[in-house]
């Protein structure tokens, strides 16, 4: 039997990092900012969480620090993409290089320093335990979805955000400080990416490895498109991705189709994401001003 309670909680846990980042990215893209660097911000958060968890023994302080690291990285993005109005895709790519490089330097220093031979304190499960447990970040990620939906579609701030991503000129004429709003949303998204990284490093595992994010930041961006820039839709897509991830892992572990080398299974989530984009791609309509700089008149 492949579907049991453990598979369900594992799917929720696997969806958590992608969902946190995708929920943030929905806001980011709705306000007109496309950030390819979300992957890098996750890596920042993942390592920060481990280091702080080892240093303090408190996984909750670690979460706070991870969110802070994400905000800090996002500030670099905001400075170049929004303040200096450089191309968002290129700045995002640069953020990824910066994150992979800096975390690489930092992680090696940490392994040779006070982190030698220590393991991080894992985020405790609030419901159940072990493989069937659900931790605080998973609860937060799923609780954020209805809140985000309400904020985006039922409040004045949500309307302003959406207007800024569609017709920034009009939002500006109505009194919105377009670039300030975009920068603030970008920082908020960065915080969620930091948490998303922590969900991988002290939520699912209790360690950091290079390449820990495995493209989940990019998958989150695809999840936003597939979910039509809508938090509930993004949740559905994130669950789908997570289910594929858990399924491929379960199939491997249970030696189903044992003749196939394991890379075939590892490719499944990415291929599925591509197929999903291809199926829904043309129908979705991105925010009109996505990725464009705004010159405050």
């Amino acid at each position: 039997m492949i579907l049991d309670a453990t598979v369900i909680t594992q799917t929720l846990a696997a969806a958590t990092p992608v969902l946190l980042v995708a929920t943030g990215a929905v806001f980011g893209e709705r306000v007109g900012v496309i950030n390819i660097g979300l992957e890098g911000l996750m890596v920042f958060g993942a390592l920060t969480a481990v280091v702080v968890s080892v240093a303090t023994g408190s996984p909750f302080l670690a979460l706070l620090a991870a969110a802070g690291a994400g905000v800090l990285g996002a500030a670099v993005f905001a400075a170049f993409a929004i303040w200096l109005k450089r191309d968002q895709v290129i700045v995002g790519t640069t953020i990824n290089f910066l994150a992979f490089g800096l975390t690489g330097v930092w992680y090696r220093a940490y392994l040779n320093g006070f982190g030698a031979g220590k393991t991080a304190t894992e985020l405790p499960d609030l419901i159940g335990q072990g493989a069937g447990g659900v931790d605080a970040l998973t609860l937060l990620a799923f609780a954020l979805v209805p809140a985000a939906h309400y904020l985006l579609f039922r409040t004045r701030l949500g309307l302003t955000i959406r207007a800024t991503g569609e017709v920034p000129e009009a939002a500006s004429a109505a009194g919105t400080q377009v670039n300030r709003l975009r920068a603030l949303v970008t920082l908020f998204v960065g915080g969620l990416c930091g948490l998303g990284g922590a969900a991988l490093s002290i939520g699912i595992a209790n360690s950091f490895t290079e390449g820990i994010t495995g493209g989940r930041g990019f998958v989150a961006l695809a999840v936003v498109v597939f979910g039509r820039w809508n938090p509930v839709g993004a949740m559905g897509a994130a669950l789908l991705f997570a289910a594929a991830d858990v399924l491929q892992f379960t199939l491997q572990a249970r030696n189903v189709w044992a003749g196939l080398p394991y890379p075939v299974f590892l490719a499944v989530p990415y291929v599925l994401t591509l197929v999903a984009l291809a199926v829904r791609g043309a129908k979705g309509k991105s925010p009109a001003a996505l990725g464009t700089a705004f010159e405050q008149g």
């Binding site: 450089r86 640069t94 910066l98 495995g214 990019f218 080398p261 490719a267």
Partner: protein, 351 residues
């Protein structure tokens, strides 16, 4: 001051600030910036062999840098040169180890197969973009991850070495290999420098001529300057997008084939040290101009080759990635200052 000179000075100024930041980081990590710089320089230029290594690193960077530049000039974000390179390497190994290919055609067919495979992999992103409206940024990034797994699969099954023990391919046949340029002589030891370096220079020349003097190149740049206007001018935009992707992928695939035929001769599980990603930095530092890409690739090639010596100075090799990022940030900042400067003509520039 003439504009090009001032622009160059601005870029150098921003790069200097970046170098200062990196020096501070190195010092903060407890190493000596001077020692690290010396180790880098020695690793890149310290001997005939080391300089050969620099050229070897620069060769695939010229090709992947051109791949990225071609797509950026058309305002297409092909971030997938890494995956396209891996596909090119796989195709080259498949042809190079095949018994049924005549020996004297092997090298040419290896290189062609590499370019073809890279183009085909990029073609997936092109079709997704043109027919399904999928942003190429996402599709090319995701295809990179698929390519990594495809390679991992290939060296475990269809391309695995004949004894099926190691996770790698067989070596390609000797006629499929690129000539070594500096074999050992009585006085001098051999370097690993191979004829692929000329191939890279030829490719740069080809791309330069193509972009500047052909109808296809003109269409590519016009679509890059604005798809709407290009459409009105009667340029087939979709066709141009697909062709640009194919050219870009072919260049990246060729880089993979050149690595196989010139340097490694076989495939292992983790094949590329990220030439396809560094390519983005190479292209942007060069302003997407083919001539400057040679210079820019040499710079990053020297960094990569030199980084082999950095370990000894107490800082890890990943510092190179930080340097790439800082160089990119410097290029971006210089671009901003250039636009802000009073004599700016306001002409549109490719990303």
């Amino acid at each position: 001051m003439p504009k090009p000179v001032r622009d160059a000075l601005l870029l150098l100024l921003c790069l200097a600030v970046g170098v200062g930041l990196i020096a501070a980081l190195v010092a903060g990590a407890g190493a000596s910036p001077v020692a690290v710089a010396a180790a880098l320089a020695k690793g890149a230029f310290g001997s005939r062999y080391n300089f050969g290594e620099t050229l070897i690193q620069a060769t695939p960077l010229v090709l992947t840098g051109l791949a990225v530049a071609v797509s950026f000039q058309c305002r297409l974000f092909n971030i997938g040169a890494e995956g396209q390179l891996l596909l090119g390497a796989m195709a080259a190994v498949a042809v190079g180890t095949s018994e049924s290919v005549p020996p004297n055609a092997k090298l040419v067919l290896c290189l062609l197969a590499g370019a073809g495979a890279g183009a085909a992999w990029a073609g997936i992103a092109a079709l997704l973009r043109v027919y399904r409206g999928v942003q190429e940024v996402l599709s090319t990034l995701l295809l990179n991850f698929v390519a990594v797994q495809l390679l991992a699969y290939a060296v475990r099954a269809p391309l695995q070495e004949a004894r099926h023990e190691l996770i790698q391919s067989d070596k390609i046949a000797i006629p499929a290999r690129l000539v070594l340029l500096q074999p050992a002589t009585l006085d001098l030891p051999a370097t690993r420098l191979h004829a692929g370096v000329f191939l890279a220079l030829l490719a740069a020349l080809f791309v330069w001529v193509f972009l500047r003097y052909t109808v296809g190149g003109f269409a590519l740049r016009t679509v890059g300057a604005g798809a709407g206007a290009a459409e009105l001018a009667g340029i087939p935009v979709r066709q141009t997008i697909v062709k640009t992707f194919l050219l870009s992928g072919a260049l990246a695939g060729l880089a993979g084939a050149v690595q196989v035929c010139g340097v490694t001769y076989f495939l292992g599980d983790r094949y590329s040290p990220g030439y396809g990603y560094t390519a983005i930095a190479v292209a942007l530092l060069a302003g997407n101009k083919p001539g400057w890409i040679i210079v820019s690739a040499l710079f990053f090639g020297a960094l990569t080759a030199g980084s082999a010596g950095v370990q000894t100075a107490g800082v890890s090799q990943v510092l190179i990635q930080v340097m790439q990022a800082v160089v990119l940030l410097a290029v971006l900042a210089a671009g901003y200052l250039r636009e802000k400067s009073p004599t700016n003509t306001g002409e549109a520039v490719a990303p």
